[in-house]
Amino acid sequence: MRERDVPQEVNALLEGHRKAVYAVGDDGKLRIVASRGWEVEETVTRQAVEHLERCAQEARRRVLAGQSSPLEYHMYRARMDVALLAQAAGLWRWRVRRHFRPEVFARLPQHLRQRYAAALGLEPVALDQVD
């Protein structure tokens, strides 16, 4: 990549941060150049973010329809999957999946709510809401 070809396509997702990239200057030497973003990067980041948001919205619909518990929604909101949430909360995966059932989630003991809240970075009371 030549120094003048370093992409400066402002990547909104970087929120004004710039990235250091290596590029070849006119003297043939590589040097560090600040880039404001590359469209390709923005495309794939946006794709990943939107995928997780879509999962969260689908989970939200299921929660409102009484088919799932808010825990599933919060899991996707925190960009996690079952494997990671289970590890972060220190539970078996099947238990996490079981807690996706609304009737099981409704009588979840306080200490488990505490663990989920800590794993997700939420307050325990926020676990019930799907805003």
């Binding site: 990549m1 990239v21 290596y22 390709v40 794939v44 995928h51 960009r79 990671l84 590890q87």
Partner: protein
């Protein structure tokens, strides 16, 4: 890493640190899952960079992990109070100063802490251009995040000033190791053969569900390549920069030509990313075999490149 060394009074560029520690690599690890997608790495894990340099420069690097969060934070405070610069492995998700869109549960992020003011740590992070501040509770959460490659509070620091280096000797050793990793790792998932395995998995992507899953997979490859740090093509450029610097430091000019070739390979990686992004954005028809073809060409080019690198290393006059 470069800043760690500068703190100990040794000027070594990031590219030199990267190259001398033989950090360039390729690995396709389908059994390590990140949100259901395979881990694809374009370099060695960050710890390897430090231990790689440690080997040549005798830095007395120490690594510590912790079972308890409290012990991990107390140890960090004690090291900072003793005037140490401390490197940390963290999750990137829990760091509040990172742009929201870049915060995924990726646990191999590295940053440097060089001070503390009350409950705030002064952090130098490759993602942020300037020094940032990070609250204690956030840093603790980031250090003790769970999941794949969980950091377990891992921290590292240097205990000895670096020895004066013989660039020729260090450089030769580093080139040997990199060529070995890329060409002769017994596992087919590592090195040039790993690129081919990745190509095969891309080729076999199912196209039902209108290609959504395939697009996610392809996007994931590009994200692992470009977004993490300076990115995959970026690491090729960084290594090229190392070859140039090594050529200048040791006076072995053959490395300059190789640097130029590696820059061209890096450009081809970027072309691959561009082609993939066009498919993701529906600007081009979704054809995974075409991407697989590009990956195979890259594998071939890298194979030739590392062979020649090894050749040049052997011809290096002592």
């Amino acid at each position: 890493m470069s800043s760690l060394l500068r703190h100990e009074g040794m000027a070594l560029s990031e590219a030199m640190a990267f190259g001398l520690s033989s950090a360039l690599a390729f690995a396709y690890l389908p059994f390590v899952r990140l949100n259901g997608l395979p881990l694809i790495a374009y370099r060695m894990p960050p710890g390897a960079i430090i231990s790689g340099l440690n080997r040549g420069l005798h830095l007395g690097a120490r690594f510590e992990t912790f079972r308890s969060r409290q012990a991990g934070m107390e140890r960090l405070d004690a090291l900072l109070d003793a005037g140490k610069l401390v490197g940390l492995q963290t999750s990137i998700y829990w760091l509040p100063y990172i742009p929201r869109a870049l915060r995924f549960h990726f646990n191999a992020h590295n940053l440097l802490v060089y001070g503390r003011e009350g409950d705030e740590y002064l952090v130098s992070d490759p993602v942020a251009e300037t020094v940032v501040r990070c609250a204690r509770s956030d840093l603790e959460r980031a250090r003790f995040a769970k999941g794949v490659l969980a950091p377990k509070g891992r921290l590292y620091y240097l205990t000895r000033p670096p020895a004066v280096a013989d660039w020729g000797k260090l450089g030769r050793g580093a080139l040997t190791r990199t060529a070995r990793i890329m060409l002769h790792t017994p596992l087919p998932l590592i090195g040039v053969r790993g690129i081919r395995w990745l190509a095969r998995s891309v080729e076999r992507l199912p196209l039902d569900d209108a290609g959504d899953a395939a697009r996610l997979y392809i996007g994931h490859i590009v994200r692992m390549q470009e977004e993490i740090g300076t990115g995959g093509a970026g690491f090729r450029f960084m290594y090229a920069s190392f070859l140039q610097e090594l050529a200048a430091a040791s006076g072995y000019a053959a490395l300059d030509g190789l640097a130029g070739r590696l820059v061209m390979i890096g450009d081809r990686w970027q072309d691959f990313a561009l082609a993939a992004a066009r498919m993701i954005k529906h600007r081009a028809p979704l054809e995974p075999p075409k991407l697989a073809e590009r990956l195979r060409e890259l594998a071939l080019e890298e194979k030739g490149f590392f062979r020649d690198l090894d050749e040049a290393r052997r011809a290096w006059p002592h």
